[in-house]
């Protein structure tokens, strides 16, 4: 179960560094990498309209 997805930024470089998301209720950071299974799953859910990734805080 993936919930509350949001891009997060590295506060030092101000660059997007991953996706913050609750996975089965556990706070997690998923790297933006096609090799990562959670990233693949999140992108699949987004494509299916089942999950939205909120933009990172400015």
């Amino acid at each position: 179960m993936y919930e509350n997805a949001k891009y997060i930024k590295n506060p030092i470089t101000n660059e997007v560094c991953g996706i913050g998301v609750d996975i089965n209720g556990v706070e997690s950071v998923v790297p933006i990498s096609e090799q990562n299974l959670d990233y693949q799953t999140i992108m699949q859910l987004v494509a299916q309209g089942k999950l939205v990734i909120a933009p990172a805080d400015a």
């Binding site: 997690s28 950071v29 799953t41």
Partner: protein, 299 residues
């Protein structure tokens, strides 16, 4: 002829011949032997093994085998279950040499309710590109079924791996309507050759390290002091994984204690061998932040 068979067996009797990781089900970093429900989806349970079911959720648990240091994966059925699967994906770098070869899959299995177990093998459509657990992108190699009983018994099957199957393999075990009772699996081995050799026992530290390439959990609580007074305190805290992981993992956090007054905590600058935890908080007295983490780079 007898000598030829013997030599062939010897040629395939080398150490580390089993391409399955945690085939003896000893490593259970996620649940440490506790039972877990599949919850109607497909989840990783014992290290390297993912389990799913249709119709209803099943319960998965590492159980003790014939001896106290022998373990097996057990699926407990439930009303409404139409099938249940236990699978492992094998990274291309650990099995590419099997392409174009004949291999043998051997395993211990038993079922207290059902009498048929289906096995199958597939390969990823691109290097380590197996797709998601719910939508796999694989090509079938072979499948079959064996008759099983309530008595744990060792089985073996042999099949040819296509020359194109250099991209990673999947082995899967499927039982039908496990509406009650248990399906038990253990000592799974996939090896080159036409004969099943005895299950390869590997020392626990080696097996654990092999598993940690794909999943690992902190073995101690990370502990970071936030000194006061500071209107806003920001710091970074490096965390290293035990072994280099397969790829950039997902880092998950369970906070033992935390603070949120203007606080911001998260992983930044993730790597395959650790991450930097960024902490930003405002505290009036010395404070401590404690958390546990897991890292997942499963296929």
């Amino acid at each position: 002829m007898t000598n030829a068979v013997t030599l062939a067996s010897l040629a395939n009797s080398g150490y580390l011949r089993n391409r399955i990781i945690n085939g003896n089900m000893a490593i259970d970093q996620r649940n440490a032997g506790a039972s877990v429900s599949t919850g109607g989806t497909i989840i990783y349970t014992l290290d390297r093994w993912y389990v799913g079911s249709n119709g209803a959720a099943t319960t998965i648990q590492r159980v003790t085998g014939a001896t106290t240091n022998q373990y097996r994966l057990q699926v407990t059925g439930a009303a409404g279950v139409t099938n249940a699967t236990v699978s492992q994906r094998i990274e291309a770098s650990n099995c590419a040499d099997m392409a174009g070869q004949t291999v043998t899959l051997s395993f211990d299995a038993a079922d207290s309710l059902l009498t048929s177990l289906t096995w199958s093998a597939s390969y990823a459509n691109s290097t380590d590109g197996f797709g998601t657990l719910t939508s796999p992108t694989v090509t079938s190699i072979a499948s079959g079924s064996v008759t099983i009983s309530s008595t744990i018994t060792r089985y073996s099957v042999t099949f040819a791996v296509p020359i194109a199957a250099t991209t990673g393999l999947v082995v899967q075990f499927t039982v039908g309507a496990q509406t009650s009772g248990t399906f038990t699996l253990g000592n799974v081995q996939l090896e080159l050759g036409t004969q099943a050799t005895p299950f390869e026992w590997r020392p626990y530290p080696i097996e654990l390290a092999l598993c940690q390439r794909y999943y690992q959990a902190s073995t101690m609580t990370e502990y970071h002091m936030v000194p006061a007074p500071n209107a806003t305190y920001a710091s970074t805290y490096p965390v290293r994984t035990s072994v280099l992981m397969r790829t950039l993992p997902t880092y998950s956090f369970s906070y033992v204690s935390s603070f949120s007054v203007g606080g911001y905590t998260s992983a930044i600058s993730q790597g395959a061998n650790g991450y930097i935890h960024f902490i930003s908080a405002s505290v009036s007295t010395n404070a401590y932040m404690q958390w546990n983490w897991t890292a997942s780079a499963e296929l």
